[in-house]
């Protein structure tokens, strides 16, 4: 419990580390790196302890029987929120007080708790409607869902631990900030700290001797701290702050070598593209703030959205706005263009951005506010929605783009774009756990691949051009090769590496494959697109292996294997990337003891009032075989093409065939999105629009302004001549002269002689007495 309530120490520690490194880093023996590494290591231990505590905490959680009566289910669900203090969530405190009222009335006159009086004694307005018929309905809906997903007939309710402090207190609304711990947050804490620690260690060698070494580590600390802050958010306002902090840190780190123009351009591009999405984020969060009865609390929003207290239309608009934010932050299609350019930053930063921090923020936001999306997009029982389209298109088109890149990091960047598309699609089809699991596994093998690419370029004079400067490194860099190969196989989804398990869950989660059951909807198009994307993934990753590790060395100089500070993180990440798939073995593997199956689902997925009752698709052996075959055939095609020189007619096709050339040109130009943004949109703004605006400004606006000005001058002159000089000045001068004259007369009265004053006083008193006697008395 101590770890849950003091988890704020982690972001605070990273922030302190940032300040310490900035202030004293240059005077320390290791230039500040040791401060950052120590802080992250402490955080990792802390996260591990938190995760361990979470396991025991979850095991003690109240169980809800499959067919419990509604009132009992509801009481248990409210009881599971016992670690949510009243000031952190209006809705929970409202539920709690009406619950106790319901109990007292039930004991008195057998009134069902569902009809408990809604006039909560001291609750705020927003909280009162949360109880009522809606709760009863959802509870009845949740119970059969529990029956389908858990075989044992009972479900463990999640007990989130919330702690908050007042941040802004107006009479209208109380804004709090604090921490909200549940399985999702704990998982993210573990990922962020592991990846960050390994990236820190990797960086000590990779950016060794850099001119801004200390600055680099300071921002690495801040980046980690921001992500931890974001992950632990208790209110959506805090989420926005964390979101922007992460954006700022990525800006600083992408532009780490800002002396070269392309790097600072890339940093700016990342920042500006994210601004576009941030508008959506702000609007969406504001909509949710008002929809949830003026509350920023994530729990409030989730519970109200989940209970149907917020109208569907409002949720739809809010989720569409938030999708824009996901598109920019998580590099989804049409706002993905910044992500490949962000490769301008140092490679460890890319690993951190792509595996643990920046880009998963969008995914995490959707996962955190899942009821909003689940109800707003009507995910359940549907076959298409906006988020699914965005995700599937990203998964497929990102994978296609990876084929034409020469830069190994850009291949990986498009691979991330594509894999994020997988996660978004998974969220959009209702496979929440699969999405989080893929985030979990992807973090390890993608960090491994990025750091592997960093190790390669470290050996090849800091070039990332695998077509021109690499090749044949298999023998020279065996450790890098082995880890990169493991990462590739995991990414391609080859059994039994981790990528297989998570990708297979996503594919089953679409509910489209014949014979699958238990999914939330039936997203046929999405599954086909994801399968094609999986094929492409396997093929382009094999292509990078060919260019980097096989054939003849095409660069110059003598490449060498990197030192232990680079290879050890690689080995750790490759090992994790290979084995973490066992964290969520399907429930159908009943030949294994029950204690090792669906651990991830059990500990990470929330169950209770603040999370929709999603169902879980059952494992489908046929689909698993299909996905492995697709991945293997992708690798086989690449293998035949590059190693064996098969498909002769295809080689050089783009030089001979106009259609193929055009297709390749489209891919090389990245579907023209950069052209669209820079030439069309920015060009239009800079060119015609700017000229038109300038003309409008010069002629119309300036004309009006000048006309008004001239009119004003004339009117002013007239007023000055006729009114000011004569009437006003006359009055003022007259008043002055009158005052001066009367003063000149009256000053003789004031002689300063007390006896004269006394005489006047007595005279006046005598006169007044006379008047009194004559007229009153």
């Amino acid at each position: 419990m101590w770890f849950f309530t003091h988890v704020w120490i982690m972001p605070a520690l990273m922030a302190a580390s940032f300040v310490l490194i900035l202030l004293f880093g240059k005077r320390l023996p290791f230039k500040g790196a040791e401060v950052g590494i120590t802080a992250v290591a402490i955080c990792l231990v802390f996260a591990g302890a938190t995760a361990f505590n979470w396991f025991t905490w979850s095991a003690d959680s109240p169980k809800l029987a499959e067919n419990a009566p509604e009132a009992q289910a509801e009481a248990a669900e409210v009881g599971a929120l016992s670690e949510v203090p009243n000031q952190c969530s209006n809705v929970v405190s409202g539920l709690r007080s009406s619950e106790s009222e319901g109990e007292s009335s039930a004991s008195g006159a057998e009134a069902p708790a569902g009809e408990a009086p809604t006039s909560g004694t001291s609750t705020t307005e927003g909280a009162a409607p949360a109880i009522g018929p809606g709760v009863g309905e959802s509870a009845s809906a949740a119970v059969p869902a529990a029956a389908t997903s858990g075989g044992s007939g009972e479900e463990t309710l999640t007990r989130p631990i919330v702690r908050c402090a007042s941040w802004i207190d107006t009479n209208e609304a109380l804004v709090t900030w604090g921490t909200q711990i549940d399985g999702l947050a704990v998982m993210m804490l573990v990922i962020v700290t592991i990846i960050s620690l390994l990236v820190h260690i990797f960086s000590t060698d990779y950016v060794h001797g850099d001119r801004r070494y200390t600055h680099y580590f300071a921002f690495l600390s801040l980046f980690t701290g921001s992500m931890l802050f974001f992950v632990l958010s208790q209110s959506t306002l805090q989420m926005i702050v964390g979101w922007e902090l992460v954006g700022v840190c990525s800006f600083a780190l992408i532009g780490h070598w800002w002396e070269e123009k392309p790097n600072s351009d890339a940093a700016l591009k990342a920042f500006l593209t994210n601004r576009v999405g941030d508008v959506g984020l702000l609007v969406g969060m504001i909509i949710l703030f008002f929809a949830a009865g003026r509350s920023f609390s994530i729990l409030d929003i989730n519970i109200l959205a989940q209970e149907g207290e917020i109208r569907h239309g409002v949720l739809l608009v809010a989720s569409l706005c938030l999708i824009t934010a996901v598109m920019s932050k998580s590099g989804q299609f049409i706002l993905h263009t910044w992500l490949p350019d962000a490769m301008a930053g140092p490679t460890p930063v890319s690993a951190l951005i792509h595996a643990a921090t920046m880009v998963v923020a969008g995914i995490y936001m959707v996962a955190r506010l899942y009821p909003v999306f689940f109800d707003g997009l009507a995910i359940s029982g549907s076959s298409v929605n906006a988020l699914a389209v965005v995700g599937a298109v990203t998964a497929l088109f990102g994978a296609l783009l990876a084929f034409v890149q020469k830069d190994i990091k850009k291949v990986l960047a498009y691979s991330t774009v594509s894999q994020l598309g997988f996660m978004v699609t998974s969220l959009a089809v209702g496979a929440w756990t699969a999405a989080m699991f893929h985030l979990f596994t992807h973090a390890f093998f993608k960090a491994c691949l990025f750091l592997g690419a960093g190790s390669l370029s470290h050996a090849c004079h800091h070039s990332f051009n695998m077509v021109d400067d690499m090749g044949g490194l298999r023998k020279i860099m065996p450790r890098t090769f082995a880890t990169y190969l493991v990462g590739t196989l995991a990414l391609a989804g080859i059994f039994p590496l981790s990528g297989f398990w998570s990708k297979d869950e996503i594919l089953t989660g679409t509910g489209s494959f014949p014979g699958s059951d238990g999914a939330n909807g039936s997203y046929h198009v999405m599954m086909v697109m994801l399968l094609i994307a999986a094929f492409c993934t396997a093929a382009y990753m094999t292509r990078t292996i060919w260019y980097a590790f096989f054939g003849e060395f095409r660069g110059h100089g003598h490449p060498h294997e990197s030192g232990p500070r680079i290879t050890v993180p690689l080995i750790i990440l490759a090992t994790l990337g290979a084995v973490v798939g066992i964290a969520n073995l399907p429930a159908e593997f009943d030949f294994l003891p029950e204690g090792v199956l669906t651990r991830f689902e059990k500990f990470v997925e929330p169950v209770g009032l603040y999370f929709p009752a999603i169902t879980h698709a059952s494992f489908n052996p046929a689909l698993a075989v299909v996905s492995v075959v697709v991945a293997l055939s992708g690798m086989l095609v690449s293998y035949l093409y590059f190693w064996k020189g098969a498909f002769k007619p295809l080689q050089g096709l783009s030089e001979r065939n106009a259609l193929a050339r055009r297709g390749k040109a489209i891919l090389i130009n990245k579907y023209g999105f950069d052209w669209l943004y820079t030439t069309v949109i920015v060009g239009f703004v800079k060119g015609p629009l700017a000229r038109a605006t300038y003309w409008f400004n010069q002629t119309v606006l300036d004309g009006i302004v000048n006309g008004v000005g001239k009119g004003g001058v004339r009117a002013g002159q007239f007023v000055y001549d006729n009114i000011d000089q004569t009437v006003v000045d006359g009055a003022v001068n007259g008043a002055g002269a009158a005052a001066s004259g009367s003063g000149g007369v009256l000053r003789h009265l004031q002689t300063g002689r007390i006896q004269q004053y006394t005489a006047l006083f007595f005279a006046a008193a005598a006169i007044l007495a006379g008047v009194f006697i004559l007229f009153v008395g």
Partner: protein, 98 residues
């Protein structure tokens, strides 16, 4: 009865006091004239109190106490003026004129 005579005495005394305040140049004499005025009022109060209850006598006692205080302050002021100017001529104290 005798009230008229008391009132006449008080009026004469009051007028003498006012005359002294207005005309005398010596600060000490002005203060003494003020005492005359106050005592004229005292005579009035006591005279009336013999006809209408004791409150007038109480009031007279208050006036005597206030007068004592006033003389204490007033004489102190006159003393200081004398120390500064070597004179207590009120006509010279006209620096408050406009």
């Amino acid at each position: 009865m005798l009230l008229n005579q008391f009132l006449l005495l008080a009026a004469v005394l009051f007028s003498v006091g006012v005359y002294g305040v207005i005309v005398r140049k010596n600060g000490v004499l002005v203060l003494m004239s003020v005492e005359l005025i106050l005592n004229a009022v005292n005579i009035n109060l006591i005279a009336f109190s013999t006809f209408w209850g004791l409150s007038g006598q109480v009031f007279a006692l208050f006036v005597i106490a206030v007068a004592a205080a006033e003389v204490g302050v007033g004489l102190a002021i006159v003393l200081l003026i004398y120390r500064n100017r070597r004179s207590v001529d009120i006509d010279q104290l006209d620096e408050l004129k406009g």
